[in-house]
Subunit: 343 residues, 2 copies
DNA sequence: CGTGATACCGCACACGGTTGCATAAATGAA
DNA sequence: TTCATTTATGCAACCGTGTGCGGTATCACG
């Protein structure tokens, strides 16, 4: 009966459909259908039960590679992060939530990072050869728009998240930060502050960003001089650069930081200099990552709806994979100014 | 020549070995060998070049599923995180670095989380059916030890990271935190502090942890009363629980926190209560995550060598995959007390 | 008992690679 | 020219699943 005793523990091969078929004296096709609940050729209830119990007993686990080869679906979805080695709390938060969402849908997420357009081709190759069922492109720059229309991925559904503009023929979740950015600037300027410093990583590539534009618009409306500080985008780098900057240019009245990591680095620099927040310098950041809540002075920030973003994006991708011809889904979420103690 | 114009954009099928073979009037076997640099049957240099240029021109990308089916290797490695939905900065840091390491070795990482042993079976199934080439089990509890010897994964190499004890027959990277914990306690007690509160998530499951043991040992040596605070392990939860605790039990002189997240939550609670750190209450955390550096009072912590941990673990896994019979690799790293301003 | 409908099941191929072995071509030596 | 040897390529089987289509029991019904 049970000849699978402990006589040979090694070479314990993985059990396949054929093994089940052999034990039950069926064909592997029947076993496959019994397990997958196939409907076209009817399988008797009795057989289904026999197969299922045998599968459970033998510890059968489908071979994903074989199934993929046959069905063309891998169960993998790819997340593109437009950054180097997905540094930064924002990308960490996004990837973590995307991951959780993917697992909820019994998919697995693989992540790839691409910062410069020049890396695009290699990243393409990566996902393409992994044969992902779909891609979530979480971009914060115009690279996607220049890439996608080329049709590099004709057969792989893509959902875009975080693009600045609406894209044509692409399912999309977009976070509108215009209101948040406007409110943030108005909020910063309200107490009569005039000298607001805009802190960002790559100034040139941020020209199209609504944060940048809100800053410029509100500052010009108020008749203030524009002031920029460029850093490498990290906490450490921002801390150092701001310290230098203040030594040279004096103390600004407010900081408008492109994201929370830079805001946190800036906060630390101000601590080093014994400047009080917000009395001496006010700070506003963007993203709403958890860390900003736990500083001694919790930071004001424009919070992104991470959960909704990730949930909708994976939902859209699922929908598209299920029905490639379905109607487009495009949703706009809003980022919201959360006023805390730093402003 | 180029009949791949824009005449039919749809139905652009993926190019396979056979397509290349047809164009070049070769067999797909030869093409395969030419691309893989196979050595046993020699391929002429001329043919190799022809094949490679044709592959590049046609945009050939190997189908990973098919290759996996044939070779039995998927290029995927699995990371087990022993936590719910891998929350917490520590797990985030580990998964990010593991990810980077995996990509450096042109592998992809998939992550699965399992907190309670009851989830183990489903997690097993997950990785098993995804056919990972290997698993890195980043556990901080005894679950692995009770699971692995059962031989649930007879064919999949496993590297254990973060286990408390040496395991037999398992490649392992272990972080020794005993010295760090001892130093931390000695450091906390040095200025004559007597009332040190141990803050942890699940007290019962931490009994075997060297942090717990160092705390008990040093406190008993000093003749102090033991004092514990149990939280849910999050920043928010720790903040709330500690606030409640202090209201009831008064202000301790020092906090010995099981990890940095709890230390950060505790720090915030102290800020709420207008208590000064470290004058009123000293704080020591564990892990050395980046966030602790950027508080107004940078936290003292026992820092784990993340980079080395992840680099070695993936290295060991690679080695084991390459040669399943090779000698065991077990390495111990040391966590180090980093004294900052909170103590 | 014959016939057709129906419910089940198996055969065989496909998916896209890898690889052992046979074979063809080229080369060299006798 | 012939044969042995090296070099280069093709044939075919295989990995494990999914699936169209044809085949075989079963049964009802006339």
């Amino acid at each position: 009966m049970n000849n699978d005793s402990s006589n040979l523990k090694l070479a314990k091969k993985r059990v396949t459909l054929k093994d089940i078929a052999r034990v039950l004296d069926l064909s592997h096709a029947t076993v496959s259908r019994a397990l997958n609940g196939s409907s076209d050729p009817m399988i008797s209830q009795k057989t289904i039960e026999r197969v299922q119990s045998a599968a459970a007993e033998l510890g059968y686990r489908p071979n994903r590679a074989a199934r993929s080869l046959s069905t063309g679906q891998t169960g993998l979805i790819g997340l593109w992060l437009w950054t180097e080695v997905f540094q930064g709390s924002y990308h960490a938060a996004v990837s973590r939530m995307m991951h959780a969402e993917a697992m909820r849908r019994s998919r697995q997420l693989i992540v790839d990072c691409v910062a410069r357009p020049s890396l695009l081709s290699s990243s393409e190759r990566s996902f393409d050869s992994w044969s992902v069922d779909g891609i979530i492109s979480h971009e914060s720059g115009p690279a996607f728009e220049t890439m996608y229309p080329n049709g590099n991925y004709p057969n792989v559904p893509i959902v875009s998240t975080g693009a600045y503009h609406w894209l044509e023929h692409v399912d999309q979740v977009r976070v509108n930060m215009i209101d948040g950015a406007e409110h943030a600037m108005i909020h910063l300027l309200a107490p009569g502050r005039r000298r607001i410093l805009y802190v960002t990583d790559d100034l040139r590539s941020r020209q199209g960003d609504c944060r940048f534009q809100s800053y410029v618009r509100q500052m010009e409306t108020a008749g203030n001089r524009l002031e920029f500080l460029e850093t490498n985008g990290t906490r450490r780098g921002t801390r150092e650069r701001l310290t230098d900057y203040i030594a040279k240019a004096g103390v600004p009245e407010g900081l408008f930081c492109h994201n929370d990591d830079m805001a946190i680095g800036a906060y630390r620099a101000l601590c080093d200099l014994k400047l009080r927040v917000p009395e001496d310098v006010a700070i506003v950041g963007f993203d709403g990552i958890e860390d900003t809540e736990y500083l001694e002075v919790p930071l004001t920030t424009v919070s992104q709806p991470f959960e909704q973003l990730c949930s909708l994006a994976t939902q859209f991708l699922d929908d598209r994979i299920e029905d490639p011809t379905r109607s487009l889904q495009q949703v706009e979420l809003k980022a919201e100014l959360i006023v805390r103690d730093s402003s």
